[in-house]
């Protein structure tokens, strides 16, 4: 578009920009009176109106940016997604037996429910692979939703496994850990798939000189470190939080052993409601810490310590 322009002409600088505002002109009216009466496209300022979903989410769902070929960092992330996707698919199949699924509720047929469940997991994995390979957020989003759909089961207060080659079903703790690992894998899949898009955007911006990155190795290494540390910490903390129904009787036991025993044997506390109750208490504490502005105090403490 910038070819063959006279040297003094700077109009090419405005190609694709919407900075113009034409003054009202009677010429424009004359133009409209002619054969081609439609208003020129560039005469109307571009207004991006977000869709209902986009306005709920606070912006465009999928970026319209065209990425350049993936660099090594993005390729590594893609490989990471593929690995997590395989593990996640297997885990989803393990922790979501067809009994209790929507398909089983609707059809009442275990075989159909089994096929449906397998199909959903396969499609979720397929769209996840394709979305990551193509770096298309739409497919990744579909994959995320399908994985969530696969785990939606009714009447499953107790965790049951579709396939249990290691006999984990017998140990409540192992079962708990398995579910937490599954949940961490799911969250990591969300994060890694998003990371592929995020770093593709960044890489494209760097290569088109839109953004300059100083010391990219440090920034990337920080991300890599977080990819390892955060899931481990999240998993451990989640196990502690989910064990609240075990921890609570222990604490109560200090004051009254009878009450602690009653709590341990209470159906409510060892059921999903007990887990939820424990979680609720833990997050009330976390909320309180935020209300007390703990992050700021923490930052101040770290800065002082560094001084």
């Amino acid at each position: 578009m910038t070819m063959n322009k006279p040297s003094g002409d700077t109009s090419h600088l405005y190609d694709g920009k919407t900075v113009r505002s034409s003054a009202p002109s009677r010429k424009k009216l004359a133009g409209q009176a002619g054969l081609g009466s439609e208003i020129p496209k560039d005469a109307i300022p571009k207004v991006e109106i977000p869709s209902f979903i986009e306005s709920l989410l606070g912006g465009p769902l999928v970026t319209k940016m065209k990425f350049l070929a993936p660099d090594r960092m993005v390729q590594n992330l893609q490989l990471g997604v593929y690995g997590v996707l395989v593990a996640l698919s297997l885990m989803t199949y393990m922790v979501s037996p067809p009994e209790g699924t929507i398909w089983y509720m609707v059809t009442g047929n275990l075989a159909i429910a089994f096929i449906m469940q397998l199909l959903i997991i396969a499609v979720a994995a397929g769209t996840g692979f394709w979305g990551t390979f193509q770096r298309d957020g739409r497919y990744t989003l579909i994959s995320n939703l399908l994985f969530i759909l696969a785990i939606l089961r009714f009447a499953a207060s107790k965790v049951s496994l579709a396939s249990d080659p290691f006999g984990l079903q017998d140990s409540a703790t192992m079962l708990n850990i398995l579910v937490v690992v599954y949940a961490v894998l799911l969250v990591m899949y969300f994060e890694l798939a998003n990371g592929v898009i995020r770093y593709s955007m960044l890489d494209t911006s760097i290569r088109t000189n839109e953004v300059y990155v100083m010391n990219p190795k440090k920034i990337v290494s920080k991300y890599h470190r977080s990819l390892i540390i955060n899931p481990i910490v999240a998993g451990v903390l989640a196990i502690i939080v989910l064990s609240a129904n075990t921890i609570l009787p222990l604490i109560v036991g200090i004051f009254s052993s009878d009450t602690a025993l009653r709590m341990e044997e209470s159906v409510e506390l060892i059921s999903v409601y007990g887990v939820a109750l424990g979680t609720f208490f833990v997050f009330c504490i976390v909320g309180g810490l935020f209300a007390l502005n703990l992050p700021n105090h923490l930052q101040r403490f770290r800065e002082k310590r560094a001084d």
Binding site: Y182, N209, K222, Y223, N293, L298, R300
Partner: protein, 437 residues
Amino acid sequence: MWSRKSAMLGSLAVAMYLLGLTLRNEQLVTIAVVVFVFLTWAALFGGHADVASSGRRAEEWSGEEGLALSSVSAMRKLSSARLFEDGELSVTLRMQNESPLPKILEVKDRVPEVMRIKEGSNYILMELGPRRETFIEYTLECPLRGFYSIGPVAVRIQDPFGLFHKEKEMHVYDDFLVFPKMEDLKDTFVKSRVPKIFTGAVNIRQPGPGSEFYSLREYFDGDSFRAINWAAYARSGKLMVNERERDAVSDVIIIVDSRAVAETGPVSRNALVYSTRAAASLAKFFLGRRDSVGVVVYGDEVVSVDRDTGKKQLYVILTKLAGAVARGNIPLQVVVNRILPHINKGSPIIFLSNLEDDPTIVNALRDFRARDFDVTVLSPSSLEFEFDAKRIDRTGYEVMKTERDVLISELRGLGVNIMDWEPDMLLSTALAGARGF
């Protein structure tokens, strides 16, 4: 501040938590808990502890930016505060981290929308070490005249997963001025026929005491011997003397139409852009010739630069032209009525306008001509700009072109030197055309 991603994850976790309770599904509750923990950990220990803080209890915390960003400061240096259109401006932004902790920062120095980054980048992602500073350098191409500001500097800090971020706008502004670019003119064909006796020597088209050669003539008694052209005497055998152009003050008045309608056309190609460039070029030429130049810019108000000479006057004029904004719709007659009593009869007047949407133009210019002013009109054709940009169709163009030609003919009939200035025509060509050369 929560990002869209963290908001989505948070909403998902809440939904799963509630759904898990409704369906009595422990897996869903577990996933929700893991997501909550993931978010909490990222917010608290994601490298920048204060990114998700929302309370306002800490006494030290002033402003919206939080502690981590309060220790980041910025300073900017421009290579020049004044430049001409299509010139380049080098910007150096110094970012300082006064904190003892390293920070990963996204820095964006906001530049005017019409500017183009020619070299470097104004958007940087960097890790700024403890008590370190860094310099960000980039070059801007400035294609359009005007008053501009660079700034503020937007700084963002976020956790590695992009879940939470804090933004700060550092109100560091630097102003600069882009003058309209000028064309070198060899001649404008505009000369005053009326001598003046005030200071400032300008050629008027009459022989008299001066410094510039005008013609040769035969020697008469009383002529100074110093004026004898001996070479001509040797050639012709007759005593010949050099006649010089009479030096005198010449007031040149340039009127620039900056009404809203003057901006009809694309941003970089419209009557106002052409008019300001022409006015700058003419002012430079006349001031170089030691004329006294005054400029009147009218749009929503009449802004005038009183006649004066010298380089300083050129910059005063350029500054006024740089600030000319297409606004309002004052008729030319109002301008003429206002300036007529203050300008010397017979002074050259150069009027730069697209001659659009003003029914008083003919009467106003007739007033000038009636008082024997030498009027030159250069009219950048908005019609051509619009047609080139494909904003009007052929029929509309033809109709308007005819209307414009009629107006130009009418003005020419009044003795106005007028030229329909087409977009690709040089100013010197347009001037020569207007003056009948």
